[in-house]
């Protein structure tokens, strides 16, 4: 056995290298395998920065709903964020403001996906705080409009000035078996996935806030304080799955055959693999919620 740094011989069970003092119980590097990852997250042998929790994270709910968020292959860090939670049993249903109908009661799921605007500073902080704030508000039973406004305020607070304003897109869903209420700003999307004789097909539920040139026209950030979200209530026509995802996935959905078997977690992993195999140009976030059927 030798020290991964100075290559001096060390005895099994030693805590420190006697020659150079390197702690031999350091975490192992994901890249070169040396027990040499330091407190800053760099390998002291090969230098590679270790993936952080945000680089790749999965969430699974007891009811089967699953989400994954991943840095992708080309971006330095993951600026997407996702919050996926089960609504507490017996929680008051969220009242949609614009639609008069009360949502059906039953076990429900709250999901929020935010995608940091790449041209803004610290966009990773914007998406993280927006997703967490909005999910918290929705779990408390607040309306989509209130949750959106609170997430917006949290993102505005991150800005040192309107010229240096962290920003992110937003899509939130409160999903129950008979009712899905969506709220969004930007180009992060929701789809309804249902099985047909031709296989599983996706129907887009949201409309992108995007100008003709491709740039987004709505986002959360101090440089757009009076942004208004759009909302939509959707009654699933039958069993299916709600898919909420960032453009890191949907840019690769043309002609894509959605996986039609396995748990939602298996399915989000396969969709992520598809995005990475297609180039992984952007961060990828995928949430999949089974509704009113036998899925999961």
């Amino acid at each position: 056995m030798t020290c991964p740094l100075c290559e001096s011989p060390v005895a099994p069970g030693d805590s420190f290298c006697e020659a150079c003092g390197h702690p031999l119980t350091s975490p192992a590097c994901e890249s070169c395998g040396a027990a040499a990852v330091d407190a800053e997250g760099y390998c002291e042998r090969c230098g590679v920065r270790q993936p952080t929790v945000r680089d790749h994270a999965e969430t699974v709910l007891p009811g089967g709903a699953a989400a994954v968020t991943d840095r992708g292959l080309r971006r330095a860090r993951n600026e997407d964020a996702v919050a996926l939670h089960a609504l507490p049993e017996g929680a008051a249903p969220t009242v949609p403001v614009r639609s008069g109908a009360l949502p059906a009661a039953g076990p429900g799921v709250v999901v929020v996906v935010c995608d940091g605007v790449g041209s803004s500073p610290r966009a990773d902080e914007a998406s993280a705080v927006a997703a967490a704030t909005a999910a918290g508000a929705l779990l408390e039973g607040r309306t989509h409009e209130e949750a959106f406004a609170m997430a917006g305020q949290a993102v505005v607070k991150l800005a040192h000035s309107p010229e240096s304003a962290p920003a992110c897109t937003y899509v939130a869903a409160v999903a129950r078996p008979g009712d899905v209420i969506l709220c969004w700003a930007g180009d992060t999307r929701a789809y309804w996935l249902s099985d047909t004789p031709e296989g599983r097909v996706g129907t887009l539920l949201t409309e992108d806030d995007v100008a003709r040139g491709g740039e987004i026209t709505a986002w959360l950030g101090a440089d757009y304080p009076d942004v208004q979200p759009r909302t939509r209530s959707f009654v699933p026509p039958g069993p299916g799955l709600l898919l909420v995802c960032s453009d890191g996935l949907w840019r690769y959905l043309d002609g894509y055959r959605f996986p039609a078997d396995g748990t939602p977690l298996d399915q989000v992993r396969r969709m992520l693999r598809h995005a990475l195999d297609s180039g992984g140009h952007d961060n990828v976030t995928i949430a999949l919620i089974p509704l009113g059927g036998t899925h999961g």
Partner: protein, 429 residues
């Protein structure tokens, strides 16, 4: 960036590398402007003043040298260990005599000045012998800030390998600032002293200003309060540290002065520190990486090698990207100091080519040097270059000037190691 004991270390770089790029450049700015450096009780200091007393010094030169040495003695802080050496083909301690050094106080300063007033000019020049004696005297004070001030007016008479051997043996053991006076000294020889002993070398163009130079250099030496710091540089296992250079206030290549700490880490001496700011240029060749991957390409610490205390530290990073807008951006400080190094090399190369009679190479190099000097705001250097190379204002063609004043050439040659600072901008790294 870490900040302890009043030292700060700031790193300027563009960490983004194109897919195939391997070289990472960074400028480290190390500053000891903090309060702690001032408040810290100054370390012991040991100072040796070396006066050339060879035959060529006779006349007004030896009179000015006596005045200058007496001025330097006057500038010594009470309690400083000191000695005065007269240098010819041998080196002799003229004060206090014997093998030791004296402690500065009013009485010893007066005795030293009396001894200095007796100096006369006779004999040859053996700079290696002078430095060897200074080194022996200073090595009796290993915990002190050890400094020597050397002046000479002539060419070293020692064989090249003897001189180089002395410099190699004493490299890093003390700091020596040197001065050339008159028209017969050789800048390349004092440049070797400065490179080996981490000091400066300057040209005293007006001999009667010698005392001012001695006073300023001694005062600077007295202001050094932290002895012998090193830059400790780690690079990844598959990487190569291509160079470590001081680039401000003067150019000093430290690459060859490495002491291995372990296979990945080496120490590079920086000498003693007062309240000051210096800049270093680091170049690391990293192994090929994947797009999106970030690595620490260099881990830099300012350390006291005797106690292993880390005074400041910072990371040099590298991250591969497909985004050309990121990877083609050149950090302004890296660009500036790369230009200053090129300017120095062009001046040295131009003057050597000129001395060797290669007019075409000399003209091309000096004209290019002039262009960089203009662009980087080096007005003094432009003025000196104008004395050796003429640019036709209409055609833009260059030709060498005949009958260049020796003093102008010496000043150009000596001054090329000085660099200009990059004007501060609001832009970060």
């Amino acid at each position: 960036m870490a900040d302890q004991a009043g030292f700060t270390l700031h790193i300027d770089q563009n960490k983004y590398l194109a897919r195939d790029a391997r070289e990472v450049h960074a400028i480290l700015t190390i500053s000891s402007a903090g309060e702690a450096v001032q408040q810290q009780a100054p370390a012991e200091a040991a100072e040796v003043i070396i006066v050339d007393t060879s035959g060529s010094m006779s006349g007004s030169k030896i009179r000015d040298a006596r005045t200058a040495a007496a001025t330097a003695v006057e500038a010594l802080r009470d309690g400083v260990h000191f000695a005065v050496i007269s240098g010819t083909s041998v080196a002799k301690v003229v004060y206090p005599g014997g093998t030791g050094m004296a402690r500065a106080n009013p009485a010893t300063r007066a005795e030293a000045q009396r001894a200095i007033s007796q100096l006369s000019a006779r004999g040859g020049t053996a700079i290696g012998e002078w430095l060897k004696l200074a080194g022996h005297l200073l090595s009796a004070h290993p915990d002190a800030v050890r400094h020597a001030l050397l002046m000479t007016d002539g060419q070293n008479n020692e064989r090249d390998e003897v001189f180089a051997g002395v410099l190699a043996a004493w490299s890093g053991k003390f700091v020596c600032d040197s001065l050339g006076v008159g028209a017969d000294w050789v800048p390349a020889q004092l440049r070797m002293v400065s490179d080996a002993l981490l000091g400066t070398f300057e040209y005293v163009r007006n001999q009667h200003e010698l005392a001012d130079f001695f006073r300023r250099i001694t005062q600077n030496a007295m202001a050094k309060t932290v002895p012998d710091l090193s830059l400790r540089v780690w690079v990844p296992q598959a990487a190569t540290l291509k160079f470590v250079k001081q680039v401000s206030p003067t150019l000093l290549d430290l690459t060859g002065k490495r002491t291995d700490v372990n296979p990945l880490t080496g120490d590079y001496p920086t000498g003693s520190w007062g309240r000051e700011e210096r800049e270093y240029h680091l170049c690391v060749e990293v192994p090929p990486g994947q797009v999106g991957q970030e690595i620490r390409a260099g881990w830099v610490k300012l350390v006291r090698p005797d106690t292993q205390e880390v005074l400041a530290s910072g990371n040099v990073l590298a991250q591969w990207t497909d985004d050309l807008a990121l990877s083609t951006r050149i950090n302004p400080k890296v660009m500036h100091f790369t230009g200053q190094q090129e300017l120095h090399e062009l001046i040295q190369g131009g003057l050597s080519a000129r001395a060797a009679g290669d007019e075409a190479a000399a003209t091309a190099r000096l004209a290019k040097a002039r262009q960089i000097a203009v662009e980087s705001g080096r007005e003094d250097t432009v003025r000196l270059l104008d004395k050796v190379v003429e640019i036709d204002p209409v055609q833009g063609t260059a030709r060498l000037v005949r009958n260049v004043d020796k003093a102008d050439e010496l000043e150009l040659d000596t001054g090329s190691v000085r660099t200009s600072r990059l004007r501060r901008t609001a832009e970060g790294s």
